[in-house]
Subunit: 417 residues, 2 copies
C-alpha cells in the first residue's frame, strides 16, 4: 500500500497509507502530549482538555459537533494516555472532507468559562467513579511507586485536588503550548485520495500556531524496586503488580520484548497461565510489554484471594527467575510468534487499525513500517534475540506492588496504608 | 467478491465468500439451535452444551483444544442465542486446515460424565453472577412477559432448577437431535481457496449424522401487551423496557425497521436521545430492531432514577405516538441512513464480519447478499417505506415492563413482585 508524507510550513506533519480496495477511511490527529508532559499543578489537564474539545468552537456549539458527526454517520472518539492525546473518526470516503472539517475545527476550541466549570464537575465525578474500580486505581498507584519522580508515573486523570484547582487560563496556556501545529501528526488510512487529503488539511490547519515543543525526561527508567503494600479495605480481591524495565519504543528489541511477554503472560497457554490460572491459584495472571517514548516497561499482574497473595507472588517471581536463567523453548517462541502474527494481520484489516499503527510508528521512530515489514520483524525474532533482550532488561528485576485488603506481607520495602 | 455454496450428502451446508486481497480468513459453524428450541425440562441446555464443546473429544483433551488453537494463533470463541449456537475462529490463511480440524473435532464432543458435572457448577455460578447484573436480568424477565408462551421468550441461561436437574443423557439426546449435519451451516470469508475448503470440510464432517430437524412456533408475535412492574429491591436504577412487533428476518421490511429504530433511538442524535438523555431526564434511552427466524421485534429501553420512571415512560410513549402519527422527517431518514451505511461498510472490512453477515442472511433467507446489495437495500428506503412499515407494525403498540426498586406505578396490567 502506498505511503505518503507531507509537512505544512507551521510544522504540522501529515502521514497516510492509501488502500484503494478499502471501503472506508480513518483519520486521526495525534497530539504529542499527555500526563507525562504536565507539571504537578497541571495534573489531569490533558484529559480534561480532551473533554473540552467537544464543547464547541467559534463555528460550532457542542450540539453542532455531535450533530455534524452524526449526519455523516462517523464513528468518532478521543483518548488521552501518558504521552498522547488522540482524536479520530472512521467514515465513508465521500464524507472525508466533512469529517476533517469537524475534527480540525474542534481542535481549536473556544474553551468557554461556563463549559469549563460544567465539565470540571464531570471530570471530578469521573475521578470518583474511577476510585470504585480497584483494578484501575491499583495500576495508577503502582505506576506512581514504580516511576518515582519520573513523569511517566503521572496519573492521566489527575487528582480531585489538582483538577479542582485548575483554572481556565492554566488550561488555555497548556493548550497553546502543547497543541501547536508542530506537536501534532495527522494520520490517515483506507480509501481516499492523498492530494485531496493534503489540500483539506492545508486549508483547515495552516493558520495553527507553531511553538517550542518538546518533552523532558525521555530517559530510560529501570524502576524504584522493592516490594510495596497498599492496603485498601473495601476491596475483595488482592491485586499484585510486577513492573520492570523494557526497551523504549524506538528500540529494535521491542520485537523480542513483545514476543517474550506473550510467551510468559498471555491470557491462555503461557507460563503464568499454566502456573497460576489453570490450576486455579489466581483468577488472572498476565504479562505485557509497554512501549513509551524513550522508555519501556514490562508489566505483569495477578488477582487472587488475599490469603493466597504471598504464595502466588512467589510463583510469579519463580516463573520470572526461570525465564531469566533458562529463557523459553523453541516451541514457546513459535507459539508466541503465531499469536502475534495473527494479531498484527487481523489488526491491520481495518483502516482504523492501520491509521493508528502508522501514527504510533511514526511518532516514536519517524519511520513508516508497512504490515509486511512489521510481520518480518516479528518473524525474525530468535532465541538468541530473546537472550540478548533478557540480558539487557532482566525480567526478574521487578518492583512489586500489592493493592487490596491485605495488611501484612513479608519482605516489604515500602508500605503505604 | 465471489460467493460459493456446496452441500454435503448428509445435509451440511457450506457457504463462503472469498476475498483474495484479505490477509486472514474466518470460519464459523452456525448450528440452528438455541433456547427457543428447548423444552421446559431442557431449559439452558443449548448454552450448557456450548460450554461442553470445549471440554474434549475422543482425539483431544480440553487441554489439547486450547493448546491447538493457541499454536496457530487463532482468535476463537462461541456464543448461544435464542436461535443460534455459533463456533468460530479467525486465523492466518496457512492455518485454515488446522483450524477446521479443531472446530470440526470439538463439534463431535465426548460429553464425559465427569466434565458434565464439573461444568454444571460453572454454569450454575454463571447464573448466580448473571442475577447480579440488573440490566441483563431485566431483559430476560421482560422478554418472558412479552412473549408469553412463545418459545422466543425462553431464557438462554436457563434457571438454576432446570440446569441443576439436567442429566448428561438429556444433553446427549438434544445434541444428537439438534447438531445433525442438516441443521448446520459452515460459513467462511477472507483469503482462502474454496475448493480446498470444501475438501477439508468434506473430510472432517462427512460422517456426521442426519436427522429430522426443524423448529416449532415460527409464527409472528405481536406481544402480550399491557404495563408490568417487577419490583427488585437491591437495585439502584429503574429499567423500563418497551417491546413491540417487527418484521421477521426474511421480510423486505427489515430495512425500513432498522432505519426507523435508529432514527428513534440511536445512542446519539435520535428522538429518544433529545427527549430523554440530552436534557438529563434518563441515563440512557435507546431503540433497536431485532430480527428473528419467522418473527421480529422492536425493543426500546430507558434507565433512570426510580422516582422519574412514570414521567420518563410517558415521554417514550409520547415519542412513539408522535412517530406513529407523523413518521420521521427527510433529514432524520437521511441521518439514520448515513449511520447505517457507515456501519455496514465498516463491519464488512474484516473477514469475521463478512463470515457472520453471509451466514445470518443465508440462515434466514437462503440467499446471499453481498455488501453492495445490502447497502443498496438500505439506500433505497423511502419515507413511504417507513410509513408502510409503521402501518404494518405500529411502534406505539408496546408491552411495557419496569424492573427495579419501584413499588407502585399507574396503569398496571400485571404486577409481579
Amino acid at each position: 500500500m502506498p505511503f505518503h508524507t507531507h509537512k505544512l510550513p507551521n510544522g504540522l506533519q501529515l502521514i497516510g497509507e492509501t488502500s484503494p480496495s478499502a471501503r472506508s477511511a480513518a483519520v486521526g490527529f495525534f497530539v504529542r502530549t499527555g500526563s507525562r508532559d504536565e507539571t504537578p499543578a497541571e495534573s489531569g489537564v490533558s484529559h480534561f482538555l480532551e473533554h473540552m474539545m467537544f464543547k464547541g468552537t467559534p463555528r460550532r456549539t457542542a450540539f453542532d459537533v455531535n450533530l455534524d458527526f452524526d449526519r455523516i454517520g462517523a464513528s468518532y472518539n478521543a483518548y488521552t494516555s501518558e504521552e498522547n492525546t488522540v482524536y479520530y473518526a472512521a467514515l465513508l470516503p465521500e464524507y472525508l472532507p466533512r469529517g476533517i472539517d469537524i475534527l480540525a475545527d474542534i481542535l481549536r476550541p473556544s474553551l468557554r468559562d461556563e463549559d469549563f466549570t460544567t465539565e470540571k464537575n464531570v471530570i471530578l465525578e469521573e475521578i470518583d467513579m474511577y476510585e470504585d474500580q480497584p483494578g484501575s486505581v491499583a495500576w495508577d498507584r503502582a505506576r506512581r511507586i514504580y516511576y518515582g519522580t519520573h513523569p511517566l508515573g503521572n496519573s492521566v486523570l489527575g487528582t480531585k485536588e489538582s483538577v479542582g484547582a485548575l483554572t481556565r487560563d492554566q488550561m488555555h496556556a497548556y493548550f497553546s503550548r502543547r497543541y501547536a501545529a508542530n506537536n501534532i501528526v495527522v494520520s490517515a488510512a483506507g480509501n481516499y485520495d492523498w492530494n485531496t487529503f493534503v489540500r483539506l488539511i492545508t486549508d483547515a490547519c495552516s493558520g495553527w500556531n507553531t511553538d517550542t515543543v518538546g518533552r523532558e525526561n525521555r530517559t530510560e527508567w529501570p524502576g524504584t524496586g522493592g516490594r510495596h503494600l497498599l492496603t485498601r479495605e473495601k476491596v475483595q480481591q488482592e491485586y499484585v503488580m510486577f513492573m520492570g524495565g523494557g526497551p523504549p519504543a524506538h528500540s529494535k528489541m521491542r520485537y523480542a520484548a513483545d514476543t517474550l511477554a506473550l510467551a510468559v503472560g498471555d491470557d491462555s497457554g503461557s507460563r503464568l497461565y499454566w502456573a497460576l490460572v489453570d490450576p486455579g491459584h489466581a483468577d488472572s495472571a498476565d504479562c505485557s510489554y509497554v512501549e513509551n517514548d524513550g522508555s519501556g516497561a514490562v508489566y505483569a499482574s495477578l488477582s487472587c484471594e488475599p490469603e493466597h497473595t504471598e504464595e502466588n507472588t512467589a510463583k510469579v517471581l519463580e516463573v520470572f527467575a526461570g525465564v531469566q536463567t533458562g529463557g523459553i523453548t523453541e516451541a514457546e517462541l513459535h507459539q508466541a510468534k503465531s499469536k502475534i502474527l495473527s494479531r498484527v494481520v487481523r489488526g491491520s484489516e481495518k483502516p482504523m487499525g492501520r491509521m493508528q499503527a502508522i501514527a504510533a510508528a511514526w511518532s516514536y521512530t519517524g519511520e513508516y513500517r508497512d504490515v509486511d515489514t512489521e510481520l518480518a520483524n516479528f518473524e525474525a525474532v530468535t532465541l538468541a534475540d530473546v537472550r540478548a533482550y533478557l540480558d539487557a532488561y532482566p525480567i526478574d528485576r521487578t518492583t512489586v506492588v500489592a493493592f487490596g485488603p491485605l495488611k501484612e506481607m513479608t519482605g516489604l520495602e515500602g508500605k503505604v496504608v
